[in-house]
Amino acid sequence: MNWEHIILGNRLNMDALPHEWFTIGGTFGFILLPIAAVLLLGKIKGWKWLWGEWFTSVDPKRIGIMYMIVAGFMLLRGGLDALMLWLQQALGSSNMPGFLGVQHGYLSADHFQQIVTAHGNIMVFFVAMAFIFGLVNFIVPLQIGARDLAFPFLNTLGFWLYVAGVLMVNMFFAVGGQYAATGWLAIAPLQGKMFSPGVGVDYWIWSLQISGVGTTIAAINFIVTIIKMRAPGMSMWKLPLFTWGSLCSMCMAVAVFPLLTATLFLSFFDRYLGTHFFTIAGGGDPMLYTSMIWMWGHPEVYILVLPAFGVFGEVVSVFSRKPIASYVTAVLGMIGVSSLALSVWVHHFFTMGSGADVNAFFGLMSMVIAIPTAVLMYVWIATLYKGRIRFSVPMLWFLGFVWTFTIGGVSGVMLGIPPVDFQLHNSLFLVAHFHSNVVGGVLFGIFCGINYWFPKFAGFRLNERIGRNAFWFWIVGFSLSFIPMYILGLMGATRRLDHYDASTGWQPLYVVMLIGGLTIAIGVALQLAQILASVIERKRLADTTGDPWDGRTLEWSTASPVPEYNFTHIPTVSTRDAFWEMKKKALAKQKFEDIHAVKNTSAGVWISAFAFLAGFGFVWEITWLWVVSLAAIVISIVMKAFNEDSEYVIPAADVKKMEAERLAHKPKAPTAAEADSAEDMSVWELVKWLMAYAMEVVRTKRWRKL
């Protein structure tokens, strides 16, 4: 009985612990530092507060904010990955020496491929999806006049499964030392045991699998909420555009995430059990994997962008001070894109060899799907026409989106033509295309939404001055980085290239791209500065009315920040832009009613912890670990499911008291002198403030009080 093998499994040994500079750095930066931050927060604010108010909360507002905080942290990691890639490519010309012991640039070829893979996975799964789910969680119930989602427990479960996925994708720093070096979708047969024998691909499989299940659960939750929990009078054709975009997105998600789950299981079986789904020998078919994974992969990008489209639809309307040019067209456009999403996936592998018949059909459908997308763009631009435009930060992000996403969209239509794609497949042209759409569409939409709805999250708006600075650094940096990329692609540069011959003449363009990347990095730093400056000036920036932008939809009828129960009384709605109508008529006297609430639960945390352990057991082939963890999951589910004591009622009288208390503590509106006295803090003023604060802390030795 080899006990070491039984307990630790067949693959785990001392070698798996970090011993290279980047794994040690990663362990500190991405595992130990966040854990330390959470522990510090618990120490300062109290463990009961952290556990009771946040971790076990079933309030979609709390869960939404947690999603966004984790997503923001992962954005920093993904962005750091990108900077490393930009730097390697700028240094990777053959006429330059290598650094740090490698022949080209400073990263070994394998390491470079791991970073490429990690960057893609993190940005799509753990940044974009999470930000979107955070926004949807917080805002959609408010927009439809609901107090919670349909299944509060599943909401917290979905969030913690996402966190388990985040932990899994960072875990290799601490244990294992390698991630998948296969590209973000790990095409077969490279993903198989034969060609990737290490644990990297296993980490890849389980981080995506666990968070993917969380996504499916959350998507079901959102769909049932939007369909079954609307305020009285709010028919489907009165839904705000953000809710429509979210509904379309979640319908696509429930349609295609199961495909990802099944495909990842097949990949897992090939690696763990030795089956022959995607192997090159034994009767497998690697090209089957490509088709299956892109059946998920293409709708995924529409899942990401539809809610962003929804954000833009609302922002362009509010900041042009007129209703959307055509509500019906906008909704039909979003439904159109969603319906067609599952009919285009072969355009990701025109060159694989299915032939002219298949390529022609999917090339045609790829061009057809551009039509509803373009129609949406026209509707938004038409909304600007004859509007009284306010160039606040959300509107700037919308305009940046128009520029960036249109370039990406046009390049996409080009790529959808099979003969053109045969030249441009897997070139940097493709990389520039999808970044223009994902960054210009999804990420800009997220930034737009966060700036727009921040008063609802926190009770004060974000600093506009630094926000504008951040926007300009982003848009200039992005253009500097990705327009040369289109040119490089047309010149023949392929993707995922860690070094190239000097005779190609590519290096100057790569250097321009690096400068663009550094510019974006400054933009990100400015966004962090923006948040910091806003926190510092929060009294001045406080939103006392709940409606700082003169909004049109129901979420602006609540106070800022939104109280626990959202609305004291669920409003009855009769038109689109429901809140706009309510503002025009006299507001009814505030009514109070009993509120059915759901208790906090730790079951989501526990089940996800066991899910992580099961995944870890699968990665390292530690049989007892995954057996025990799976059993624990089943037991936890049974215990939670048969616990009939999960709800409680807040009587109307208590609600009235809570309202009164909230109003008593509401910050007073700043005097006219105070509000307009100065512009928002600038970056330089922020730096001066921070230096003064640091000197104060040192002088009074404030850390002793912790």
Partner: protein, 219 residues
């Protein structure tokens, strides 16, 4: 009981109909009353109808109050199921037909050592057995005849001071062998040829029409 929950009668009717729709295709198939594509379409049709029967009588589909979200989602899912199954089959069928190994594909497959893709053998060898050597010196190939087995290899070595280019078939009508069009040999260089096709094949130095020989490959 609400209308949407159905009656005992519904369940009995559904059960009996499902029995019928299970037994008929079974007997058709097992007794070979139909074969081939006709059988396939028939049993699939019976399956689809039975699914509909069960949806109607066991799951009371369509009896929900308006708006009928459940029916709507089911129809969209049915569309998705169709796209996934039929789409995958269509794409992969065309792929396999178009990408069946040809001479070039054979050479690529041999380079990578891929002996089988899907259910089709590429014809490449994934391991080699005996190594035979043919040395070309003073315009003569030595030995000029080789008897080999399938998946042996021949190493051609050029010991002359001039470059050579080994091609196959008659000097004025070269053909590819095993996907390989020719084996260029600079002076002193060797190249290997994997014998993945049976039969007799002659070779010659295409640059000078000299150094002829042949090899016979048995399975």
């Amino acid at each position: 009981m609400k209308r949407e929950h159905g009656t005992i009668r519904n369940y009995v009717i559904g059960f009996v109909l499902s029995l019928v729709f299970t037994l008929i295709p079974y007997f058709l198939a097992v007794n070979h009353l139909l074969i081939g594509l006709v059988l396939f379409i028939t049993i699939l049709a019976f399956a689809l109808v039975q699914a509909g029967i069960q949806l109607l009588f066991f799951l009371h589909l369509g009896r929900e109050r308006n708006p009928r979200w459940q029916s709507g989602f089911l129809m969209v899912t049915a569309g998705g199921l169709f796209v996934v199954t039929v789409g995958t089959s269509w794409i992969l069928y065309h792929l396999h037909t178009n990408m069946a190994p040809t001479a070039e594909a054979l050479q690529l497959a041999q380079d990578e050592g891929i002996a089988q893709i899907g259910d089709k053998k590429t014809g490449a060898c994934d391991e080699t057995y005996t190594v035979h050597t043919v040395t070309i010196k003073q315009n003569i190939a030595n030995p000029s005849h080789i008897d080999a087995r399938l998946c042996d290899e021949i190493v051609f070595t050029n010991d002359d001071n001039t470059s050579r280019d080994i091609a196959f078939g008659a000097p004025n009508k070269p053909v590819p062998y095993g996907g390989v069009n020719d084996l260029p040999l600079a002076k002193g260089q060797s190249q290997m040829l994997i014998l993945n096709q049976t039969g007799t094949q002659s070779f010659h130095d295409h640059l000078n029409d000299e150094a002829t020989g042949d090899f016979a490959v048995t399975p």
